[in-house]
Symmetry: C4
């Protein structure tokens, strides 16, 4: 939003409203209230009257959100859709509007995603999420390797073990789920011993897969750690180093000035 | 305590007693004895006589602690309550005094918290705990994001799965517990497959939640690691760098001195 | 490959073909198609006709791979076998050629390993894998220690617990599997309590083993982290430092030039 | 050993033997053979004849070890006992000598500890183990905090939950084992839900304990990582920095030389 205003200096009245701190705080307050009420709504011990009030309040708040979104779109027009966070808000509100029309639980459950607007509304949280997402490109190739290993192990385990352990390796989808589970090291021994009861050599597959998968996960973690440490520590150490270098450079500049004076004196004496 | 004395130079007789090293060591010794005896008290193979002796000893030690606390409060008066660790001691002793009056196990169990006075009494342990707590502000925003994700996933899973798996997602409280459990990767596959037996698509929710939650936990860990490494390694590397720069600066100072001498000689020759 | 061409400047016509970007992209495309089709092949809901088409396509693609390999070997001759990745491709294709002749599932399952040719064909993935493998020599001695601890704990647990818990410690092989499982902390408590029902002191063995094994695993992880951070962060910080030093060195060079000029002027005046 | 010889320059004939590279390699070879044979001894499919041969070989090798130890003690006398690794060897051999006399499995199982002599015999492995142990002092205070938390939680949980879940919290010893298990996050949910069936509020204890315990474990890990990174990376970066500083210092020295020459010329001209 701030960038949009930077581009278009003559700030319209609408923009002044949506950029107003009190306006933003009100929206923030309503997001929190909405999240809490959606939590209460899951309770089954509430009286029908209370439940009706909560549902009415949620609808009213959604109404405010819709108005806010329309105001912001009117204010920035096409610029609005150039910011990822605005698109995020737009998608959330759209889902929220569709939600009540659907009778399905899945659609109703998605309404709580509105609480994520907390992140898009509070600048410091936006920064944190942008920082977290910023680590992903650095780990993309290791992530791809991990998915490749998962896929290859999935096809292999389906062919090898589907008749022995159909509940874990019955088809490619189940195999991938089981291999993801093994990657988290949760209950892997149970799956492995089940297969090993029939094929004794299967430990080679499982232990090999665990070693490769956890090594790749470790390298994913390292990728995130390194990108995080690089951006945080290095900036500081660069500042430290620059300060020291400036000290040296200042001293050198004074030496050059001394030598310049010396030459001038030398020349003036000559003439 | 040391700060309090720094503020009020004329040290009273009471202060000299409570600051005395022998006094502190005695209290430390009693804390350890008390902790060990409270451990013995849990045993059910002790004779009633031994048990009575232990309980008497614990009461006597508590009496000493109360006297010590009164002495320290008398010595520092209001300054006493300005130090977080003093408040910690005060709260522990207060709980210990209330504890025997209550017949409930919960209140009796809290008495062992007195052993934490080891931390407030030994300066090096206080430093360590202060260091550990010092890492928390740096991770506050990621922690908030994690709690937000937990809450949103909690509401969603309650709405979606409460009829299928009431033992895990029956109401918001149970859902949050189950999601915390899934975050620790303990037994997550069992919960997930239970739900997936009814809703096949539920793997999207569970694997999505695991990826997001573990990524946030990883970033919490990175936050702690970075704040810890920053405070430890950087200070040393700054010292190293400063030493090198000083070497260079000393050399530069001597060069300037040489040039100054050169100019003086040059001037003296001129005259 | 690129190194081989660097050695032999007069590039043959064959080499120009196998180095051609379009040629490589075609092979890459076929690798991906092949991997996807081998995944489909695991499905049991496909009609026999579709299955026949898939199997025919896979055979045709394998034929292309064989031709590609022969072209590359003809182009580089003995140099071909000097590159690890070429040997990798050679082994994969050889296994793929043997696979259909075997009626066994194991041999059929190995065909999907062809998908790993994605790694040997895409240069950026090769770099990543080379980077990952590059961390291994640095952790070799800790890895050896871990294997030694595993072996010693394996022999000890077999002697001690084989009569109490034959399903976990019946012979050395099973013991090693159980100890690897305990090292991943998966279901260790179940194994331990099973043994402790008979031998109460067994907790010393299990908790001792867990502490030692996880400490060694932690040091393996640190080894990988350090080697990764060294190669990534240090190179950048070296560049930063070099830039600063160059700034200082340039200034020093100009000072020397100033002094040289001063001496020349001084001399010219003398004459 | 090398230090001992450094102290006593006139090397005796015995010392020359035990320091001989061929002597050490022979011992190393016997340690490996011994470890492998002790592994074979656990097999129950060996013929009695083979088993007898193996046991005879093991006894013979133990004999060689005893002779080697006597030679080394004779060579260095009291200096022998000043090296921690020598004491380690001495303890291992002593246990091995006592082992066969005991009829108990425990004593027999301890014989495989001889394989750890690989570490004390190979210098590079000794260095690695010394490095690993070197990280422990740095984490001592956090380790103490963790043990304190474990003890306090142990006493509390015994008092609170012993009647509800005697299999996990029946007495202080079992409680400590259960809390160690919960700390590894293995099966913690099962223990917690067992207790929570009776006391609903128990989740506060378990989740609080998990948060505190894993935070302390994380700080243990950080302690090891930091001490490891400090010793490895910093030494290198210090070398890099020193190299750069030397470059600058060399340039500065030449500038001083230039100025010195200038002053000399200036003086010679004056006279």
């Amino acid at each position: 939003m701030s960038e949009a205003t930077a581009i278009s200096p003559p700030v319209s009245r609408l923009e002044r409203i949506v950029e107003d701190e009190r306006f933003r705080r009100t929206i923030l307050f309503l997001i929190v209230i909405n999240a809490v009420l959606l939590g209460f709504e899951t309770s089954r011990t509430l009286s029908p009257g209370t439940m009706d009030s909560i549902m009415f309040a949620n609808k009213a708040i959604l109404g405010v959100f819709v108005v806010e979104l329309i105001l912001r779109i009117s204010a920035y027009r096409l610029d609005f859709f150039r910011d990822g966070w605005n698109l995020f808000d737009f998608a959330i509100i759209t889902v929220a509007l569709i939600a009540p029309s659907g009778a399905f639980q899945v659609v109703r459950a998605l309404r709580i995603l509105r609480a994520f607007r907390l992140v898009s509304t509070v600048t410091s949280l936006r920064r944190v999420v942008e920082g977290l997402l910023g680590a992903i490109p650095g780990i993309a190739s290791v992530l791809f390797l991990l998915v490749l290993v998962l896929y290859i192990a999935g096809v292999m385990s389906t062919i090898l073990f589907r008749d022995v352990a159909p509940e874990n390796f019955g088809h490619l989808g189940i195999s991938l789920f089981s291999l993801f589970q093994i990657m988290t090291l949760e209950g892997w021994a149970e799956i492995a011993t089940g297969v090993m009861a029939e094929y004794e050599w299967a430990w080679i597959f499982f232990i090999g897969y665990i070693l490769v998968a956890t090594f790749l996960v470790l390298n994913l973690v390292i990728g995130v750690v390194v990108s995080s440490i690089q951006s945080r520590i290095e900036s500081e150490s660069a500042i430290n180093m620059a300060a020291e270098t400036q000290l040296v450079m200042k001293e050198l500049a004074e030496i050059r000035e001394d030598i310049r004076l010396l030459r001038e004196e030398s020349r003036s004496r000559r003439n």
